[in-house]
């Protein structure tokens, strides 16, 4: 993209931005929203039912068997957490790198992060089986005098993911405060004025406030940046620290982080394409924005492809026969079908984005982003299941199949995700008005210096 192309198309004024973004929540609710919410809430009920039955009956309702003690619950957890990473990368790392194009998509992507982590957190919580003692994972003083084992990666995960959720929520809310003030000031109905008035905390937009606000935002971006890299690294140690061929590798942390950003950007692209179409946001989220995201997908997808290749190389180079067996088994064994879905979706599909024509085609992007998310789910399937199903003792080998409850819990988690997402786009500003205004050429005092402003 040439550097002088405007970030926001059509030279809107500050007022135009406010009207366009606020208008989305102020207009009459479109009928398609009700349809979508109905579908999402129905799926949410499927989740509630599945989890309810799980709590009643126990993890035996899932397809877990003797060698495969981790199944869909862990796959889904890793998949959903990974998706969240794109939001934090956009909101924190791109902020520190002064990538001004992020302003059009950061609010949206951060919301996606929060909802994806909400879905993710369900799975480790319910897979413990006895969910009523899930508080044992936290260092809560108790009558048994028992404390959690801080030397276990599973416990690191509890802290990493819950911190990730909390820090993302605080960052998101900090970004929302000035926009909530806009909603407060535009509210016509008294009830709306009170709600947004309370949520905006009395924000006045004075520079005495902005100076603390901007530093707080910078600090939150600064501390969220290592979180993007650390959370999925910690998730990967759940695998890497155990002594199991296919899991016990040092490549896991960077490989998981690249995969997380890869799948997260794919999800952002999927959702953005739908939202910009339905709400006519093509001027704010331009093809340029989407193209930049496809470049991130190409980069991280190639890193993931490199990691797949390197795993094979190290299996051969290490001379470890167990490691070699696992990898040949992955590609040609009983789960070869899953492995080749993974390779097709994660290694081959992103290579389409080498071509500018395909990078700027909405249809190609949309289909590719969905395929990538399917591929990334299968990546976690391959990692979790193939290493476990054929373990050290051939007598205990087995074939893992999900049950209807595994499937309904996963499908139901989409209900939670989309219910939260639909409520978000209906009631809150889905694009940061403050930040979009700040990147308009009119926002820079230097553009007024010689009497008239430059475009």
């Amino acid at each position: 993209m040439p550097e002088d192309a405007p970030l926001i198309a059509g030279h809107p004024t500050f007022g135009d931005i406010t009207d366009q973004i606020s208008g989305i929540t102020e207009r009459r609710t479109p009928p398609v929203w009700y349809l979508a919410l109905g579908a999402a809430v129905s799926l949410l009920m499927v989740l509630v039912g599945s989890v309810g039955y799980l709590v009643w009956e126990g993890v035996g309702i899932w397809g877990l068997n003797n060698p495969v003690g981790w199944g869909w619950a862990i796959i889904n957890f890793v998949w959903w957490v990974g998706i969240g990473h794109a939001g934090t990368l956009i909101s924190a790392i791109l902020f520190l790198l002064r990538q001004r194009w992020r302003t059009s998509i950061n609010r949206f992507a951060e919301a996606m992060t929060l909802f994806a982590i909400s879905c993710a957190l369900i799975f480790p919580a319910i897979h413990v089986g006895r969910i009523w003692v899930v508080y044992w994972m936290f260092p809560v003083p108790n009558q048994m005098g028992m404390w959690p084992n801080f030397r276990s990666p599973l416990l690191w995960d509890v802290f990493a993911v819950s911190t990730y959720f909390t820090a993302s929520l605080l960052f998101w809310y900090t970004g929302l405060i000035p926009d909530l003030a806009t909603f407060r000031d535009r509210a016509v109905k008294k009830i709306k004025k009170y709600i947004f008035g309370a949520l905006a905390l009395g924000w006045r937009g004075g520079n005495r406030q902005w100076r603390h606000y901007e530093l707080a935002y910078l600090i939150l971006a600064g501390i969220s940046t290592p979180l993007v890299l650390s959370v999925h690294s910690v998730v990967s140690t759940d695998f890497a620290v155990s002594i199991l061929p296919g899991w016990h590798t040092t490549i896991f942390p960077p490989y998981f982080v690249a995969g997380a950003i890869f799948s997260g950007f794919a999800m952002v692209v999927t959702l953005t394409i739908v939202a910009r179409k339905i709400f006519s946001l093509e001027n704010i989220i331009t093809v340029n924005h989407l193209e930049k995201m496809t470049k991130v997908i190409l980069l991280t997808g190639s890193m993931v492809g490199y990691a797949y290749g390197m795993e094979f190389f190290i299996a051969w180079y290490s001379g470890n026969i167990y490691e070699q067996f696992v990898f040949i088994n992955r590609a040609f064994g009983q789960y070869a079908w899953a492995y080749w879905i993974m390779i097709g979706c994660n290694v081959i599909v992103p290579q389409l984005f080498w071509f500018r024509k395909l990078r700027t085609s909405i249809t190609v992007m949309f289909l590719a982003s969905i395929l990538i998310n399917i591929g990334m789910w299968f990546e976690r399937f391959v990692i979790v299941v193939t290493s476990l199903a054929q373990d050290f003792l051939p007598a205990s080998w087995d074939y893992y199949k999900p049950t209807i409850w595994d499937i309904s819990t996963f499908v139901g988690s989409f209900g939670l995700f989309f219910t939260l997402f639909l409520l978000f786009i209906r009631f809150l500003p889905m694009i940061s008005m403050t930040e979009v205004k700040a990147v308009l050429p009119e926002a820079d005092p230097h553009n007024y210096r010689h009497g008239d402003r430059h475009e």
């Binding site: 000031d185 004075g206 406030q209 650390s230």
Partner: protein
């Protein structure tokens, strides 16, 4: 005690055309010696801190202290619970195996810093505060949309209603308003 017929004057407010005009006016207000004034805008304006004569926010120090407290607290918790309260040998590792404590130490440091960044920012700004003289203005609602204002509070020692009002006009202020208690 104010009686209802003559409401107490709380300040003055004027509108400016664009960020550049606001920046220029802010410098003039600063140079005139006013202390209790603020420049309201829909987004932060680059260079405004210097124009208003404000120092860099000291929030960073507060968050720094929080980060230290979070990390040292987390390390202390892990040492105490794994070595004193509930010493268990886990795969032959020492009770205080600090390498294994790094992820939780980091996470709790980040957690406390994030809370401190938001809560500290609000505290430095005196928020939440739902009641403020500028909210008495009829135009002020536009500051969160597309308008730029300077407000000078009546508490300022230099504040004199006529003089300050004329001064705001001379800086290019429009739509002047007297902020009064209602």
């Amino acid at each position: 005690m104010n009686n209802k017929a003559t409401p107490r004057i709380l300040g003055l407010m004027a509108q400016f055309d664009n960020p550049a005009a606001l920046l220029e006016a802010a410098q003039k207000v600063r140079d005139a010696g006013y202390k209790k004034f603020d420049c309201h805008s829909p987004f932060p304006i680059h260079g405004m801190d210097r124009a208003m004569g404000l120092k860099r926010s000291s929030l960073g120090w507060l968050v720094g202290v929080a980060a230290l407290a979070g990390t040292s607290g987390a390390l202390a918790l892990q040492w105490w619970s794994s070595s004193v309260a509930y010493p268990l040998v886990i795969s032959g590792k020492p009770f205080f195996s600090f390498q294994a404590y790094v992820p939780v130490t980091f996470a709790l440091g980040v957690l406390l810093s994030a809370f401190t960044a938001l809560v500290g920012m609000l505290a430095f700004n005196g928020l939440p505060r739902l009641h403020h003289p500028v909210f008495y203005s009829d135009n002020f609602a536009r500051t969160s949309n597309d308008a730029f204002f300077i407000s000078i509070e009546a508490d300022d020692p230099l504040f004199e209603i006529e003089k300050t009002s004329a001064f705001l006009t001379s800086t290019g202020g429009k739509n002047k308003e007297v902020l009064k208690e209602e």
